[in-house]
Symmetry: C2
Subunit: 331 residues, 2 copies
DNA sequence: CTATTATAGACATACGTATGCAACAACGAG
DNA sequence: CTCGTTGTTGCATACGTATGTCTATAATAG
């Protein structure tokens, strides 16, 4: 039924191993034979079997990307550049989305014969990195890291962005500043909170406990937090959000409550997703080079696969504030 | 290095085939032996090799989803339910994004040892369906179909939705109606255009050529089309868009041009993406059960895989208008 | 007590490719 | 004329699992 390298070998009048080598452009095969083999392969419509190749070579040239919650607008923007970068280096991307982060997930990653894994949604207490390390399966942290195992990583450094945001908030007269932060077990939420608090502290501003809302990085969290804040007797004048998706939820809540942004309340995001710059949104947010970060993660992983003993490389990307229309002035 | 079924067999004191059967709960193995094997597997941390399994059984339980343009907001909403549905039926999803639609793509799909493919971005002149059919690799059309090969499909029937939209547009006094349509080589663009024109014709309205703009299903198209329309000496009072993403672009263009929606121009979308119902957007659009459609596509494919000789099933999903705030009344 | 059958497991082999090693031819140097 | 060298190909085998067939043991019937 299916055409194998043996069939090609027979037609070309060579042995099966020669076909294998010829089609991968092995220098040990003469140009004349290569040409003959290619012709034969073409004529039979031969397509090498990934399974056979994987079994024999022990490598699949396949890399997993582990995500939770694909519905979140943030992740599609990772997938596309990851795909491209891996492809340009001869690897394929295999998407894995899992609600939980447990042993079953780790097993699935391992059994799939992946050459490596990009972990994009690790929590600081994830078990997956441990399992992967035990198996010797290379991986890289993207965006978030886990405390359990040290590994190559590509993350954002929120310091500059939060610094600029704090500066502008202060200059524009904001003193009552609230924050809608991500889950406490994610490195991103922790780092952004620290960066924000330190930056505000430089202007003598602190965020009281009742001005802090925590939850998953989704619109519902932004919505819930903003509703809570707006209903307070003394609402904040500005809300800094853990990311853009949360900020979109905040904008929605403000609109629903009849509060004008930015004259009633200012909102700041983080990530600068494409939608943030849409004329109907114009979100003031903190930006960084997401595509470059994805590409870096892919590169780090491939280098790790190809030379496993390299020193660990932790790569941080600068961030900066992008002023648009959702951060106003207090008179 | 890696633990194989042979290692487990040795530890459990049985043969390798018995391990294979025991772990897959084959009735030919006694419960006592199964238990012993499971214990041994657990103790060694055995994880079966996908490649070995694929090579031996000829099946991978892996299904490809072929997309172009992951950046488009529409597609992530397909991926998540597809993932879930396939997983619940014991299959894994393998994402393939390709800019083009050519032989190379088909070859990649074939070599990957997929059990089947979901084609989500076929054009009517796609070559991939031909190649897959020649190879005997099962596939299903999702959303769009191709004329070249008949196959199972799950698509939207735009008739009712467009009918309701035309009705409301007419009742609210719109007579100059424009359309921003998708690429002419996609079945979705064609079907929606036909449905729209027929529905408007019932009210004696036709869309003149200069009120038609065509382009890819993205925000840029919506933006460009709307700019063009708004600059006309006699601009349309309403714009029907090929999908929501296009409509978002139209909203952006209107905002940039200082045109109020809906008092200056009305906008109608198609798909009812989650963002369409956001308070800051509130897009009037045509809705259908996208998740069910995805699940249907997955089910059709799996059934095709498991019984290849079934008759072809073409599944169409009803659509309906969802009124929100972007379709106004002409006084 | 023997013949028959059911049951559980072993044995052999297949799947398709990659790779170390041996074989061979052609050739030039000594 | 011999020997080493270089370049090209074939041979043998490994990768890890699944499955058809065969065998040993136990259970059952006559």
């Amino acid at each position: 039924m299916t055409v194998t390298s043996r069939d090609v070998a027979q037609l070309a009048g060579v042995s099966q191993p020669t076909v294998s080598r010829a089609l991968r452009d092995d220098p040990r095969v003469s140009e004349a034979t290569k040409e003959r083999v290619r012709k034969a392969a073409e004529r039979l419509g031969y397509v090498p079997s990934d399974a056979g190749r994987a079994l024999s070579s022990g490598r699949t040239r396949r890399i997993g990307l582990l995500l939770t919650d694909l519905e979140n607008q943030f992740y599609p923007h990772i997938i596309a550049p990851a795909f491209q970068q891996l492809e340009s280096r001869g690897y394929q991307l295999m998407l894995h989305t899992e609600a939980a982060d447990n042993d079953v997930v780790a097993e699935r990653l391992i059994s799939n014969g992946l050459d490596g894994v990009i972990l994009a949604t690790s929590t600081i207490d994830s078990v997956v990195p441990l399992r992967l390390r035990d198996r010797g399966l290379p991986f890289v942290y993207f965006n978030r890291t886990s405390a359990a195992v040290r590994a190559d990583s590509a993350v954002v450094d929120p310091t500059e962005g939060m610094g600029e945001a704090a500066q502008v908030l202060f200059e524009r007269g904001h003193r009552r500043i609230a924050a809608i932060l991500g889950p406490a077990n994610t490195s991103t939420a922790i780092n952004r909170e620290i960066a924000l608090r330190e930056a505000l502290a430089q202007h003598g501003i602190s965020i009281p406990a009742h001005y802090v809302h925590r939850g998953p990085f989704d619109t519902a969290t932004g919505q819930a937090g903003t509703e809570r804040f707006l209903n307070m007797p003394e609402p904040p004048t500005a809300i800094v959000c853990g990311n853009d998706v949360v900020a979109f939820g905040a904008l929605n809540a403000a609109r629903s409550a009849g509060a004008d942004v930015p004259s009633d309340v200012s909102i700041v995001g983080f990530d600068d997703l494409p939608a943030a710059s849409w004329p109907i949104i114009r979100l003031t947010t903190i930006s960084y080079d997401l595509d470059a970060m994805v590409r870096r993660a892919a590169d780090l992983l491939i280098e790790r696969i190809e030379s496993p003993s390299r020193p660990v490389e932790e790569s941080a990307f600068q961030s900066r504030l992008v002023m648009r229309d959702t951060l106003g002035r207090i008179d």
